[in-house]
């Protein structure tokens, strides 16, 4: 696991209550890096990949393969321990490269197998237009079909609920055991094939074509089957090809140069030199890095629909974050009582608690708890003569009628109106208190009994712990965070201040959100956002990285280029970090690979010509035993370094949010300077071992 694991203690915002904290865990469970089964499979795959049609896709390794063949021919024609050793290690180099890729793919494949199990053939109860049911295999469903699912049924394919409400077990795709509620209409109507209905009956309209369901796409994504090279990967491949093409003549011309000097140059040594010089390390690990990057996302329960999106995530300059669930805990909590009109605080607390007894919302419960904590007012059993007044959009109040007492709590305006209707007059200080509470970013809740306002309960939006540090880190990386909220500007500003975001969009409408994305993009910035509702779809599509919540609508999921199975908006920050880590790993290994060349030169060049020009021994600064042991040591190092770096490629280099220059300095130091020095040490060590083994 990397150190960028989600540090978010907050459960995802699904409808049902959730356990408080848990590790992100999904289909893609974190596996041990060298899982035995994957290892075995990868070794087999490594040999299967010798198919030239596979090899040619990687120009660097293709050159190594050709070199191996040339060396093999030479070893057959002029047999000798040296020629065969070199050939064997060159062959090993190709195997190791294949192995690295197979390892990365293997991890994905193992995940895909888990997914495939639940795609096992299910039966669907299709409704024909007359409304009669027929049982058909799920695989025969097409877009637009209607199917019925009842408790215990597997939902046969992706679709939207058009009728009914049900609790659904989505653990198959999210790894989350708690069931979620799905209902027709609104933003919670999408269901995924392979998930199980636990209660009730729903009618689902199929939205996916055959073979293109969410699970199908997921399988091909994690397997790497639909993996296409991303733009940056293509650019890097070109650069590596250029470096390979440059070194080709550098090595080939040594034959005539040596001839001019009167030195016979062995073909095997030339091939060895070529393989050592071209960037085999990064060439071998490049695709593994890409696959592993996707894999890391999957481990976080995020499905990227394209590798391009992962790369874009690294470049994101503006993050649009929903306030609720991402920045704040999502539920407002009562934090203070402000009595008015000469009432005591306790009086207010008691009335507020009473009115909230039947209020099962988190806010209501928090009032009960606060009253108990502050004044030790216990929950009372109400007599039979009471009526709860539920909250409605019209009254914007809730309350309780008991023993001729009428208690109401709600928005200040609504309560004032109600008090006026009751013939009372709201006290003059009420407005000031309401204003002050709102300015602090909290929600004021007025409490009144009959014609008398008792006071105001402050409902505070609780900013998540640690989020401020997270945003500071983002800022260091040059990422602007923008909080999106439906709150009024006053409240929004206070929370933005507390959470430490750079900007906020208050009273946000989907249109405002869209406009904000457009204006950021016009300045050339890349924007990432999360969304779940159908009305978020255009913005998700417009954003460079649009992360749809799995609980969201099909439209939202279609529009975004990633889906978060946990539906946890904080994940966006992780996604950005994973994107950066992917790019850094590529850059670091490229630098490392090229820096290694210096040591290899000092091993091989003196070895090549020392018989003709004995003075070149001065360049043998590692004091390697003999020309042959020098060349062999360099080749062995070159091959082994691939194996040694597989874990790094799969895990990604360590990434800590910091300023760009700090990151650069660190990586240049480790992979540039380190890459310069490391091979000197290891080539010498291998040489010593070869000598000790009497190989030479």
């Amino acid at each position: 696991m990397t150190d960028t694991q989600a540090r978010d203690p907050q459960p995802p915002s699904t409808e049902l209550s959730q356990p408080i904290a848990r590790e992100p865990r999904g289909v893609a469970q974190a596996r041990s890096l060298f899982d035995r089964a994957i290892l075995r499979q990868a070794i087999i795959e490594a040999f299967k990949k010798f198919d030239p049609r596979v090899q040619i896709k990687n120009p660097v390794m293709f050159v190594v393969l050709i070199g191996t063949v040339v060396s093999l021919i030479e070893a057959i024609v002029h047999p000798g321990l040296f020629a065969w050793s070199i050939t064997a290690w060159l062959f090993g180099t190709v195997v190791f490269a294949n192995f690295a890729e197979a390892m990365a793919e293997g991890r994905g494949k193992a995940q895909a197998d888990t997914l495939r199990k639940m795609r096992a053939e299910t039966e669907a109860r299709r409704l024909d237009p007359q409304g009669t049911e027929e049982r058909v295999p799920a695989s025969s469903l097409t877009k637009g079909d209607l199917v019925v699912c009842e408790a215990g049924d597997l939902i046969p394919s992706d679709g939207d609920i058009i009728e009914g409400i049900a609790s659904v077990d989505e653990s198959a795709i999210t790894g989350e055991s708690a069931p979620v509620i799905r209902e027709s209409g609104g933003d919670r109507s999408a269901v995924t094939g392979g998930t199980k209905v636990l209660s009730d009956r729903i009618v689902v309209k199929i939205t996916a074509e055959r073979g293109n369901t969410f699970i199908d796409r997921m399988i091909s994504l994690v397997e790497g089957a639909s993996r296409q090279k991303t733009p940056n990967e293509i650019a890097l491949t070109i650069l590596l090809a250029v470096l390979t093409i440059v070194f080709l003549p550098v090595v080939v011309v040594l034959e005539p140069f040596g001839h001019y000097a009167g030195a016979g140059v062995s073909v095997v040594v030339l091939v060895a030199l070529l393989v050592c010089l071209i960037p085999t390390t990064i060439g071998a690990l490049l695709s593994a890095i890409g696959i592993a990057g996707m894999d890391r996302l999957v481990q976080r329960n995020v499905l990227a629909m394209s590798g391009r999106a992962v790369e874009a995530a690294g470049d994101v300059q503006t993050l649009l974050l929903d306030k609720t669930g991402t920045i704040t805990l999502g539920n407002r909590m009562a934090s203070a009582f402000y009595p008015v009109g000469g009432h005591s605080e306790e009086e207010l607390a008691a009335a507020a608690q009473l009115s909230s007894l039947a209020d099962e919302t988190p806010e209501g419960r928090s009032i009960v708890v606060l009253a108990k904590e502050r004044f030790n007012i216990r929950e009372r059993d109400l007599g039979p003569d009471h009526t709860f007044v539920p909250f409605t959009a019209q009254t914007r109040m809730s309350g309780l009628d008991v023993d001729h007492r009428q208690i109401r709590k709600g928005a200040a305006e609504a309560v004032k109106r109600w008090v006026a209707e009751q013939g009372g007059t709201p006290p003059s200080e009420l407005d000031a208190i309401v204003e002050r509470v709102a300015r602090a970013g909290s929600t004021p809740l007025a409490v009144a009994e009959g014609g008398d306002v008792l006071g105001v309960v402050e409902l505070k939006d609780v900013v998540k712990q640690g989020i401020r540090e997270r945003f500071d880190a983002m800022r260091q990386m040059g990422i602007r965070t923008v909080m999106i909220t439906g709150d009024n500007p006053l409240t929004a500003a206070a929370i933005a201040e507390e959470a430490g975001v750079d900007d906020y969009l208050a009273e946000a409408t989907p249109e405002a959100k869209m406009a904000l994305i457009r204006s950021e993009q016009e300045g050339g910035k890349l924007v990432a956002m999360t969304g779940d509702g159908t009305n978020d779809a255009p913005a998700l599509a417009q954003a460079d990285v649009g992360v749809a919540m799995n609980t969201g609508t099909t439209a939202a999921k279609e529009a975004g280029n990633m889906v978060d199975l946990d539906s946890n908006p904080t994940k966006l920050i992780d996604i950005v970090e994973i994107g950066k880590q992917l790019l850094i790993t590529r850059g670091a290994l490229t630098t490392f690979s090229i820096s290694n060349d210096v040591a290899k030169y000092f091993a091989i060049i003196p070895a090549l010509f020392v018989t003709t020009y004995p003075q070149l021994h001065a360049l043998n600064i590692m004091r390697l035993h003999s020309p042959q042991s020098a060349v062999l040591s360099a080749v062995i190092f070159n091959a082994l370094v691939i194996i040694a770096l597989i874990p790094l490629a799969l895990r990604g280099v360590r990434f800590k949010a910091a300023s760009s220059s700090a990151i650069l300095r660190r990586n240049v130091l480790i992979y540039g300077i380190g890459g310069l020095i490391t091979p000197f040490i290891f080539i010498k060590a291998i040489d010593l071992i070869l000598v000790a083994l009497h190989w030479y």
Binding site: P231, A235, L239, Q317, I584, S660
Partner: protein, 562 residues
């Protein structure tokens, strides 16, 4: 001590020029300089150019290539018919075809490789109308390409990168001609020859010998020869000849002229992209590498000549073989590094007789692709190519898809930058391999063993980088070297110019990404270091094996490196 003050003086005059000439150059190419307006407009009218109409990179490149081809043809023609042309006091006949082709290619590519001795081959007309003309035009072309590439960075969403004809006309009228003319006067005042009268024969009454001394319109050619990073001298001995470079002062001014435009153009770049810091970053990369070459070449030349030591003569004045008394060892080394690191290739000493390490210092400047600071314009556009590669690797290492001055570096840019940085080493190494493999090539070197190899390698490196300096021992005036050299020079020039222009075109179209703290900073010491790293890796790693068979082996033959 004298050398120390020479360096101090050079730093001061170049520093001032960097700031003010650099800024002036930006004004010239932004069209804000008009003092020769009537002449400028006259040229546009005669040539039929609408100065307000800009060109796409393809049209820009097409104009450049066709114009260069015509220039080669006309130059060739003049050489072939010089016997029937005026200004030929020595009655020199036509230049042979292969040599004419080599020389025409050489001067049109700003190389100025000379397989001939000027005073006995070229008429005054050829020297002026063919050679000096190209010495004016080719630096203008190089600078125009650099400016076009810089416009790629400074423009947003644009489809054009300037007008080739306008750019070179302005460069000539407002930069090259005025500066060259002023320095021409100084050169004459110091003793440079400038006459259209032919050679003079003098009888020395003291000594009793007669001398026939060649003369010609030398001094004013000398000024543009250096300013334009051309390097092709009127006389065979080039800047070692007292008529070209009479005093220590002219030697210093030559070094200044050679370096001034390539260095100043980095300021121009900074100014045009609205970030002088970026220009300073490129300057720093150039100066650091250049400083290293100057340091170790001067040190090596100060060590004396092994042959003289072996003959039992005590040396306290450094390696004097092939050096002029009035310049001395270290100033000659400085001149040599300035000349070979700028694609100039003029010589005030015999480079072939430099110590092996000193000679390698000269070669290194070229092998790194002539970017420290490189030729007029060519230095800037080539180092920008390297910078793009550096940005790509560096950008990845901070976790961003790379961008340079707000322009995203993607597959297309890397492809073009790769192509441009690939061409030179590829051409030079392959042609050197051909030369050492064929009898015709092996016949060239004067010296035996590794030094002979160095002579061939030097020749093809010099031509591939459009430098033009030589280890003079190589007999280059053969059909083989004339033709191979011409190919080397043409490829080395145009196969980099065209991708550079395409880069300009590709970048100009892009909309910039705004910088943030997370952006990879391309104006910091760290970036300077990365750029140097890329230059050293592409140049160093590609040429290390070849160099180890030439100068390194030669130097190590007495079992120590210095």
């Amino acid at each position: 001590m004298g050398f120390f003050w020479t360096i101090v003086a050079l730093v001061v005059v170049l520093g001032l020029s960097w700031r003010y000439l650099g800024s002036y150059l930006a004004a010239v190419f932004d069209g804000r300089v008009h003092f020769l307006g009537p002449i400028e407009r006259g040229i546009y009218r005669v040539v039929g150019v609408d100065p307000d109409r800009e060109q796409s990179w393809q049209r820009y490149a097409a104009s450049l290539v066709v114009f260069s081809a015509i220039s080669i043809a006309l130059t060739y023609l003049i050489f072939r018919i010089q016997g029937s042309l005026p200004l030929n006091p020595q009655h020199l006949g036509a230049v042979p075809p292969a040599l004419s082709f080599n020389t025409a290619s050489s001067f049109v590519t700003n190389t100025n490789w000379q397989n001939y001795a000027g005073e006995t081959t070229m008429s005054y007309f050829s020297q002026i109308a063919a050679l000096t003309t190209q010495q004016f035009v080719t630096p203008a072309v190089g600078i125009a390409v650099a400016i076009a590439l810089v416009r790629g960075f400074s423009r947003h969403g644009a489809s054009t990168i300037g007008n080739f004809w306008v750019d070179i006309t302005r460069c000539l009228l407002y930069v090259l001609i005025p500066i060259a003319f002023c320095f021409g006067i100084i050169f004459v005042a110091q003793g440079g020859v400038q006459t259209l009268a032919g050679p003079v024969t003098i009888h020395d009454h003291l000594n009793g010998v007669s001398q026939t001394i060649p003369r010609g319109p030398i001094a004013f050619m000398e000024a543009i020869k250096q300013l334009g990073t051309n390097g092709g001298g009127f006389l065979n001995a080039n800047s070692a000849a007292p008529f070209e470079n009479p005093t220590g002062l002219t030697n210093f001014l030559s070094i200044y002229l050679v370096l001034v435009l390539p260095f100043s153009l980095t300021y121009t770049f900074g100014k045009m992209v609205n970030s002088v810091r970026h220009g300073a970053a490129l300057l720093a990369a150039m100066v650091i590498i250049f400083g290293c070459w100057v340091g170790y070449t001067s040190y090596a030349e100060h060590q004396g000549n092994p042959a003289v030591a072996a003959a039992g003569v005590h040396q306290s004045t450094g390696n004097t073989e092939g050096k002029e008394v009035r310049f001395g060892d270290t100033s000659s080394a400085l001149f040599g590094v300035a000349s070979t690191s700028t694609s100039t290739g003029s010589a005030d000493a015999s480079y072939d007789s430099f110590t092996p390490i000193g000679g390698m210092g000269l070669m290194s400047g070229m092998m790194l692709g002539e970017v420290t600071p490189g030729g007029d314009g060519s230095g800037l556009y080539t180092i920008l190519v390297f910078a793009i590669v550096a940005v790509f690797i560096g950008g990845l290492m901070i976790g961003r898809t790379p961008e340079f001055l707000g322009k995203k570096i993607q597959a297309r840019e890397i492809k073009l930058a790769g192509l441009a940085s690939l061409v030179m080493p590829l051409t030079v190494l392959v042609l050197t391999a051909i030369a050492v493999s064929l009898h015709a090539g092996r016949a060239g070197p004067l010296n035996a063993g590794p030094h002979g190899f160095s002579e061939i390698l030097y020749a093809l490196t010099s031509q591939g980088n459009n430098n033009g300096s030589a280890f003079g021992g190589l007999s280059g005036n053969t059909a083989f070297y004339n033709i191979v050299g011409a190919i080397d020079m043409l490829v080395g020039r145009f196969a980099i110019i065209i991708p550079a222009l395409a880069l300009g075109g590709a970048l100009a179209q892009k909309q910039p990404v705004p910088a943030s703290v997370g952006t990879f900073r391309t104006d910091t010491p760290m970036f300077v270091g990365l750029t140097i790293g890329v230059i050293l890796i592409i140049g160093g790693l590609t040429f290390f094996p070849a160099v180890s068979l030439g100068p390194i082996v030669e130097q190590l033959s007495h079992h120590r490196f210095f």
